[in-house]
Structures are given as C-alpha cells and as structure tokens.
Symmetry: C2
Amino acid sequence: TPEVALKAIRNFGQKVIEYSHSAGNEPYRIKLSHYYQNIGINVDHNDIIISTGGSEAIAFAFQVCLNPGDEVIIPEPFYTNYNAFALTAGVKVVPITSDIHTGFALPPVSDFKKAITPRTKAILICNPNNPTGYLYSEDEIKQLGQLALEHDLYLLSDEVYREFCYDGHNHFSVMELEGMDEHTVLIDSVSKRYSECGVRIGALVSKNKKLIATALKFAQARLSPPSLGQVIGEASLDTPAEYFKEVYDEYILRRNLVIEGLNKIPNVLAPMPKGAFYTIISLPVDDADTFCQWLLEDFSYEGQTVMLAPASGFYATPGLGKNEVRIAYVLKSDDLKNAVKCLEEALKVYPGRTR
Amino acid sequence: TPEVALKAIRNFGQKVIEYSHSAGNEPYRIKLSHYYQNIGINVDHNDIIISTGGSEAIAFAFQVCLNPGDEVIIPEPFYTNYNAFALTAGVKVVPITSDIHTGFALPPVSDFKKAITPRTKAILICNPNNPTGYLYSEDEIKQLGQLALEHDLYLLSDEVYREFCYDGHNHFSVMELEGMDEHTVLIDSVSKRYSECGVRIGALVSKNKKLIATALKFAQARLSPPSLGQVIGEASLDTPAEYFKEVYDEYILRRNLVIEGLNKIPNVLAPMPKGAFYTIISLPVDDADTFCQWLLEDFSYEGQTVMLAPASGFYATPGLGKNEVRIAYVLKSDDLKNAVKCLEEALKVYPGRTR
C-alpha cells in the first residue's frame, strides 16, 4: 500500500463517518476520471460508479447487462468468483476454452460465434488475465469489439491488473475501442494496483448513460461504498511513479525466476505470462487435485512442502484442467526458489506421475 | 461517531491493507459476540458474518433463506430498500398493513396467517421500526416466533436501531426466543448505533449453522468486508456508556418536542414513537406526494420551507399512505421547532387541505 494512502487515513479528520453519494464521492470520481484520461480512456466522473471492490462492479455489470436466463460468454480458465456473481444474477456462463499451448491467447473468434445464441447478451474478459497471466493484444480486443458490435452484445472487461503488463507490452482497454460506447463496460479495483485488497473499492465504468443510470439504482439500494476506502482510493491516485517501478521490477524478477525454474523441470509446461502475477502450468500428473492434496498431506522436502491451486476450478467445462495448476508469484524470490525446487522433488516421487 | 473509533483509524498501523476473513476478522467477531452476550443474545463468533453494511446482511438473508419465487411477509409501511434486495433475490414481498391508530403495532397474527402460502419462507421485521418508530413488545415477538415455528418459516429481524428505545421500554430480540435457533436471523449494523453510516459494516447473525455456512459462500464470492470499517467497528465496541446517554437524551428531547408540536396542529396525528428516530404521521391533505412537492416548490414561511418524505413509498400496497409522511427527528432542536411551525403554517394555506 502506498505511503500516501496510509497517510491519508492516519490524517482522517471527519467527526462523523457519513454515507457518501451512492456513486461515490464526486471529487474522487473526478480525480479518477483524470487517471483514466491519462491512460487513453476518455471518461468523465458521470461515467463512473464507485463500487465496494471489483466484486460489486462485476455483480452490478451482470445485474444491469443481463436478465435472468441470459448468457455471458467467458474464455476459460477464468476467475472462479465470476460463477458466484452469475449464479446470483441468474445468468448462465458459457465458457470458450483457451489453450495452454498458445499461452491462453484469445480463442478464435469462430469459437465465440458458435457459442452465441439468442440469449447471449455479453462477453466478459479479464485483461491481463487471472488466472492465466495472458495479456490480450490490441488486435484481439478489436476482434472482440467487432464481434460485440455485430451481435449487439456488451463487452465487459475486468482490468484490475492493468498496471501489471510486462516486457514492454502495452495494455489496450476495451474503453479505447471506437464507436463502442454503448457496448463497453470496464470493471476496475484499487486492490491489486495499490495492494489495497482490504479497502473494498472498485469501479464500474461505461459511457453508456442508460447502463450507468440503471447501475446507480442498484448502488442506491446498498446506500454507499465505504467512506474510508474512498479516502484511501482518492489519495492513492497520487502514488508516485517510483512505487510502481519498484513493484514492477520485483514482479519481473519473480516471474522470470519462477517460469524459468518450472520449465527446467521435465515435462512441466509453464507459459510466460505477459501480465498480472499468475500463470497456469501443466504437470505430468494423473490428477492435479489429487496431487495438490498429496503435496499437503504426504510430501515434504527439507521440512517444507508447496501449496498449489488445482486449475480444474477455473474451468467451467467438466474434465478440463485436470493436469494443470495455478501459480501465483506473490512470494519473495527466495521462497519462490524453494517452492520450485520443492515441486521438482515432489514430481520425482509422486505415485501418480504420468510421464 | 465515538472518539474511540476515530482514534483507532488515526492510529491505523498496518502497512498493507489486506483482505480480511470473508466472515470478518475473528477478533472483531469474538468481541462482537461479547457485546451480544451482554445484551442477552447468546451467540459466539461462529454465528456471525460481518457484512458490508446492514444492506449486505439483508441481501444475504434473502439469498440464503429464500429461493427465487418464494415469498417474504413484511409489515408495512417498511424500509423501501427491502424491495430492492427482494427484487435482486427474485423474492416476492407480501405486505401486512399496520395501522397509524395503534401507533403501527404488530398487525394481528390472523392477518399473517391469511397471507401465508406454500411459497412463504420468511417473515421480516424491523425492530425498532424504520419508518414508524414502533418498538415491538416481547409478547409480539413471541407471537411471531410461535407463528414462524408452526409454519416452519425464518424470522428475520433488522435490529439496527436497537440502542434507540425510549421511555424505559426494553428491546426484545428475536434471538432471545427459546427453541428458535434454526429459525431466527438477526440483521445488524454499526451505522446508526455509532453514527458510522459510511464505514459500511454490518452483521448477519444466526445460530442456524447451515444457514451461516451458506451465507459464508456468498461472503466468499465478494472476498471480504471493508478492513478499515472493521477497525472502526471493533474499536466502537469500547464506546463509553456516556456517549449513548448523551445521544439518548438528545433524541428524547427532539422526539418529545416534535411529536407534541405536531399533535397540536389541527387534524394532524403523530403517534409517539418508542424507538429509532422516525415516525409516520397523517396530515389533513389530499395527497402527501403533491403536498411535499408543493412545500418545496410553492411555499415558504419566513424564507424557509420543510422537506418531508411522502409515506406512500413505504407501503407495498398501492394507494396506502396517501395522507401520511415520514418524519426523521435528526435535526437540532431549534431547527425541528422551526420545521414544525413551518408545517403548521403550510397546512393553513395548502390548497389541497381536506379538513
């Protein structure tokens, strides 16, 4: 968390912690719109609803863009909680499978076309992607934009990892698409950008006036987003560039270390992520769920083991991801090195090894 | 907001604002369970899910206790936002009308019985009541408990105004009912108790283990309640008794002044509220919506006018509350005096006066 944000909260001077505007404090929204304008997203404060975390922005997007029984297409593997918000909104998730051998790039547009039905109302992407670490290119986003336009769909984009793009790749937002103002919806959050998961501040952003007006009704029902979180969020917009540089350098270091180490293990495939701080890798095991449990219960190397998330939970299609796990490189470098070594040793002795 | 809470936030010492447990920080829940135990509500921290305001606790209660298409019975007039959460959960609200001439006491249990259908799954009350200021008696709560038990219904109780009970009346919580652990659900919030509306911290409380386990799944989907709000909420539990005494004395003063003043106006009926800081009064007007608008647009007395909330919005039954308005006595005494005087003068000249 940036010092400028922690300072703002320590200097909190109000005597009564009142409700804010249901769309969030106007000065915060104005300042946030400047942040967006600076990165090529041309919105003003009326296009923004401050939400209680990115989570609530996803919930609002589903509730506003889709009716119960409608369908949203999401490339899989995807962030598991999308399922929960879809379930709550009565929306059906239709997955399109992306492939580890392309680094989880956007599946061919023809796959999307095949999945579109009269009930399809939206496509949701996460860019950069949790859990795959894939960063969609400008060309891929434009293909999706074209598709959304042709079939009159909303294009929802969860861009909470925007600041985490590596190797000189630029982030291209759906909000930069031209002629798509009525279709594009941005889901955002301060959680990852400033390491402020606990403040529960996000945003729903769209130039579609009717969509924002409807979302505001849902926002009014829950009265307001957290006031103290907004103080933090607003102050965080003044975070100096060095903060991000330090974070960025550290993640590059960790990523390279982990991916190189993993790919040296025989029969392990670890695509190089271009964004966020996750990747999904494949392992020479019979069943990643069984393997992950075995790691915790029956294995140790020099008194330690490693905890991995089986990837099956990130797929909506049953049976997929059975030999894949998600890695988050959020630990310190030394711990990551030990974890990779530990995984290597574990694979040597795991009874369910396949190759 | 109590000084002890503001101090806690100014002394916030964490370096990273992380997610909390989805059910809320355990130390906070433990301390909160002691608060409940002290007021006769025998719960432990595992019976508590910290929510993002009372609003989210209501949303969770509807989502967990009712399926889409199920019915919840609510005495009307009621807090308007219940409608929004019911709509989101796909739940049908069935109102039972309470009467201004009994001060909006609990309608006869026979009225509830008539409204119960095979789809009825829950009864929701607000105690003390927003918007009526009515405080349900122990006997009334027991009648509801008996009814819920007979028909296997959940009894949901929004008790966010618990600390605001007047004239020596004690608050009796649904959680004090014996043999009802599987049926009773408490909705709570720090907003009113400590004047902390903006922190967005509430709670869903129940001894029903399965219900709490299901609610936790919804809680996990949105990751965690606000971390800073929980710091405030936990610190607020140490609020000294004098704080409440001061607040209490002030509200009693305001209430008596307003209700006495209103009842002196010819043909105005203002029941004496026993809790919260609202009341619904009837006026000798043709249509309260028209009257309230007329007050704002076409009337002034000594350069001022008065803003009232038409009561029709608090009724689910069309046509009810047409000559009623809700009063909130949250202003300073002098302002309240002026407002009462202003209303008296307005009624003298309002063209739609009926008596």
